[in-house]
Structures are given as structure tokens and as C-alpha cells.
């Protein structure tokens, strides 16, 4: 007997999630580089965009990414206390917490927006985070709620 849950899951499998990853140039960007030079195998679904600091991420970037069809948005920066600009990641934490709450409030799936702290030495952690994120997004299927429909 065909399992309806199973058939749904296999349909979702066909969709390749697209992740927009905003990576701080001082840490996560170097972390993703390290994952690459260490030849760690991980999902190729993330499009990295290097930014000067997570503090420079405007909520508009995240909304625009979803609007232009991203299935998930990842913002990754330096661990608290390690910001190159002293406090950029603390300001980002506050701001992006509010963005996340707002996106949840209007009913965007909670798993679609994610934030992580990845230092330049954590290539393995970066690969793990992307893999996990892509896995969660696969289960959710395509993002149609905020995607432009014109």
C-alpha cells in the first residue's frame, strides 16, 4: 500500500533548495573556504555572498532574498566577542532576532531563516550547518510564500 506521507516526501526530494548565505568576510567566509580546501563534502545548494560584517546585514537583504526566490537564508558571522568591528555581531544578533520573529509571525516556515556563528577555523562546522539547513529545507519544499509571483 502506498504511503501518502512517503510519496509527499519523495516529491519534495525532487526540489533542490536554494540557500542564500550571507557570510562575514572575517570568519564565516574564511570558514567556508576552509571547508573547501579541506575537501569536505557538503551540499552545493548555498550561494555565498560575502559581506563585511553580520552587522551590515540589512533586514532588506533577507526579505529581498526570499522575494527573489530563495528557499532559505543563512546569515553567518563571528562568535560573540570575536567581531572584527568589536560589536557588529551583537547588533546583528538583536536585529536578526527581530527579523526572525517577524517572519515567523506572518507565517513563514520557521526553518527558512537561520543564523550561525562560524569562525575561520570551523570549516567542518560550516559544512555541517549547510548540510543540516539544506536537509531541513528539502523537507519543507519550495518557498512560495514570499516569492515574487509576477
Amino acid at each position: 500500500m502506498p504511503n501518502p506521507l512517503h510519496s509527499n516526501a519523495s516529491e519534495a526530494q525532487e526540489h533542490e533548495p536554494r540557500v542564500v548565505a550571507f557570510l562575514c568576510k572575517w570568519c564565516s567566509s574564511a570558514g567556508s573556504d576552509l571547508a573547501g580546501v579541506s575537501r569536505i563534502q557538503y551540499s552545493a545548494n548555498a550561494t555565498p555572498i560575502t559581506i563585511p560584517c553580520t552587522g551590515s546585514v540589512s533586514p532588506m537583504y533577507i526579505l529581498a532574498a526570499f522575494n527573489k526566490g530563495a528557499d532559505g537564508v543563512l546569515v553567518s558571522g563571528c562568535h560573540p566577542g570575536d567581531c572584527h568591528y568589536m560589536e557588529g555581531n551583537y547588533l546583528a544578533r538583536r536585529k536578526l532576532y527581530l527579523v526572525q520573529q517577524l517572519l515567523r509571525f506572518i507565517g513563514l516556515e520557521a526553518d527558512r531563516f537561520r543564523m550561525s556563528w562560524v569562525s575561520a577555523a570551523e570549516g567542518a562546522k560550516f559544512a555541517e550547518i549547510v548540510d543540516e539547513f539544506v536537509g531541513d529545507l528539502r523537507a519543507l519544499g519550495p518557498q512560495n510564500r514570499l516569492k515574487a509571483r509576477h
Binding site: P59, L98, Q101, F105, L146
Partner: protein, 344 residues
């Protein structure tokens, strides 16, 4: 009780002595029962000032307009502007001061207490009167409002007529003021703060999206919410790209590569970007005057988006908007104990 005669005589005195260059207040409107905002410049006009539960507008908006005019004037008048401010208006002034939009000495605040109640919701009033035209609504202590319609007066419990934001209001008298009329009332107990936002987030994810999709779909992008908001004072808004004008010389490449955060078309995705942008730009700045929701022609509950963020600011960051203009703003400060568990 706010003594309106005292308010009028102080206004006349300030204008007569030239202590303020003009004064922003409310006067009797010409269309229906609602009061309308007015700017008075002559002491004789002070007689027209009123203060009653139909004074809905947030007058801080006109301070912003005034400041824009002064900035463009060839010989700006350095004297302050007087403003009649209820609790929410004074919080708005406080936020504008915090952002250095103008200086404390540029504004003279005539605070008026909401008498332990607040302002009415015109829709609730007309529903209550079942089609009859109200001629007057007056404060009647903490019990309610005295509504006159068709020659007879009735005492209506405040809870039935109060605007939703007034039910949830935590500070119904202006904390920031130069003169205060009426009593300071903080404990009111109509409704718990943020009740509507709390209720809205209880629904399931899909139900929340279904609701908001319907709201965003309805939006006609008239930008009334932006126009009425005292905090939306940017000369150019990020959602309309007016500095990028198409001229005959604009190349196709320029058109293709320019940043457009959201399109002008009124569909769900673009309206969602617009409303979420507005909400996030008001995070830690919205003082919950409810004007955006009041002016919305299609009744989108815009207050929910803003109060949701104010609730998070209050619960997670212990930040109360408009409480102290000398404190750093919500998004320009941080604490070590800010939520961190959502980050991997």
C-alpha cells in the same frame, strides 16, 4: 480632569509672548464628530482648541512636517513649536528626540492626560449608535464616555468605544511634557499589553500565513500607513526608487542592474516586502499610536506587526519605546544576555 480653558489660555499666552512660533493642537472638525488637527499662530485662535476622546491624530506627525519646512526655509524661526500631546504623542516626540530629529528646545509640549481612558474608535462608535450621527463625545471619568446623538446623552462604558491600542496602552498620560493638564494615570486595567499580538501568534504557522496572505493581497499600496506615521520621516523611502528616474538616456543595462527592493505592483509578495520592511524599520521606534491601522482603507491590522516587535523588544531586551530619549535606541545597543540560543 483636563481643564480645556486652562489649555486655551496657556496656548494664547505662549503665542502672545512669542514663546512659541506656532502651536499644533486639535479643533472641532467640520465633518462629523471627530476633532481635526490644526496649527494656530495667533493668540485669538487659541479659543478653538479642544480636547476630547475624538482627538485621534498623532500630532507628532505635524512636528515632523514643521521641521521639514523649517529646514527648507531661508530664514528659519528658531522659536519652539508648541504641541498638544497625549500619552502616545509624547512618546513619539520622545523617539524623535532620541533620534535627534529635532532638539528638546525646539518643541514645547502641552501634555494632556487621557483621563484614565483614551480615544475612541470611530468604527466602534458608529456600530454602537446603529446609524445615528453622534454630535459630541466627551470624557466622563474612568467609567466611560458621554455620547450625544440626536439630542439625547448616554453614558457608554469606555471599554466599548476605546480604540484597540488604547485598551492595550500602558501609559495614558504624557511622560515627556513641559506642562501637564489632568492627572497621571498609569494603572488602567482595560486589557493586558500586547494582547492582540499574543493572540495572533498562538495560531498555527499555516493559519498565520493564510491570514496574512489575505491581508497582503488586499493591500492597495496607497502608502497611507507610511504617510501618517510620524516615524516614517525619511525624505525618500527605500521601497520606492524615486532617485532612479528613467530618462531616454537610461540604458537597458542600468535598468536591469539597479536595486529594486520591491516592485510597485500591489500583489502578495511585494506588499509583504513593503509591510515587513516598514515593520522592521519601526522596530524599537513604533509608539503604538495606531494611526497606520486607522487610516488603512482596507483594514489591514498593521498594528499587529508593530506591536509584535515592541513585545519582543520589551520581553527580550527590556526596551520600552519612548520611555527615555537619552537612552540609546533598541537597534543601536545590545546586552551580553540578548537571546543567543536561536543561533547555531
Amino acid at each position: 480632569m483636563v481643564n480645556v480653558d486652562e489649555l486655551r489660555s496657556l496656548a494664547a499666552e505662549l503665542l502672545e509672548q512669542g514663546q512659541v512660533r506656532s502651536l499644533i493642537g486639535y479643533r472641532r472638525g467640520t465633518a462629523g464628530v471627530l476633532a481635526e488637527p490644526c496649527t494656530i499662530a495667533a493668540p485669538g485662535e487659541a479659543e478653538t482648541l479642544v480636547w476630547d476622546p475624538t482627538c485621534l491624530n498623532n500630532l507628532a506627525l505635524f512636528l515632523v512636517e514643521e521641521r521639514k519646512q523649517q529646514a527648507a526655509a531661508s530664514a528659519p524661526d528658531k522659536r519652539p513649536v508648541g504641541v498638544v500631546a497625549k500619552g502616545c504623542d509624547s512618546r513619539a516626540v520622545s523617539v524623535l528626540l532620541q533620534e535627534n530629529y529635532f532638539k528638546r528646545e525646539d518643541v514645547f509640549i502641552l501634555g494632556v492626560s487621557c483621563e484614565g481612558t483614551g480615544v475612541i474608535d470611530p468604527r466602534k462608535l458608529s456600530a454602537r449608535l446603529k446609524g445615528r450621527w453622534p454630535t459630541r463625545v466627551e470624557f466622563a471619568g474612568e467609567d466611560g464616555f458621554k455620547v450625544s446623538a440626536g439630542g439625547d446623552e448616554t453614558l457608554v462604558p469606555a471599554r466599548e468605544l476605546l480604540a484597540d491600542r488604547c485598551l492595550e496602552c500602558r501609559e495614558a498620560s504624557p511622560r515627556l511634557n513641559d506642562v501637564l493638564f489632568g492627572e497621571v494615570v498609569t494603572e488602567r486595567g482595560f486589557d493586558e499589553p500586547f494582547r492582540a499580538a499574543k493572540a495572533a501568534q498562538e495560531a498555527t504557522e499555516d493559519a498565520r500565513w493564510a491570514t496574512w496572505e489575505r491581508h497582503f493581497d488586499r493591500c492597495v499600496r496607497c502608502f497611507a500607513c507610511r504617510a501618517v506615521c510620524p516615524m516614517c520621516y525619511c525624505p525618500e523611502c527605500v521601497v520606492d526608487s524615486t532617485t532612479f528616474v528613467n530618462t531616454p538616456g537610461t540604458s537597458a543595462e542600468e535598468k536591469a542592474t539597479r536595486i529594486r527592493w520591491c516592485e510597485r505592483s500591489a500583489n502578495v509578495s511585494e506588499s509583504a516586502v513593503y509591510h515587513l520592511t516598514r515593520a522592521i524599520h519601526l522596530a524599537g521606534r513604533c509608539i503604538d499610536c495606531g494611526e497606520c491601522e486607522r487610516v488603512c482603507p482596507v483594514n489591514i491590522p498593521l498594528r499587529l506587526l508593530n506591536t509584535k516587535l515592541e513585545m519582543e523588544a520589551f520581553q527580550q531586551f527590556e526596551y520600552e519605546v519612548g520611555r527615555d530619549f537619552e537612552r540609546p535606541s533598541l537597534l543601536s545597543s545590545f546586552r551580553d544576555e540578548d537571546p543567543n540560543s536561536f543561533i547555531r
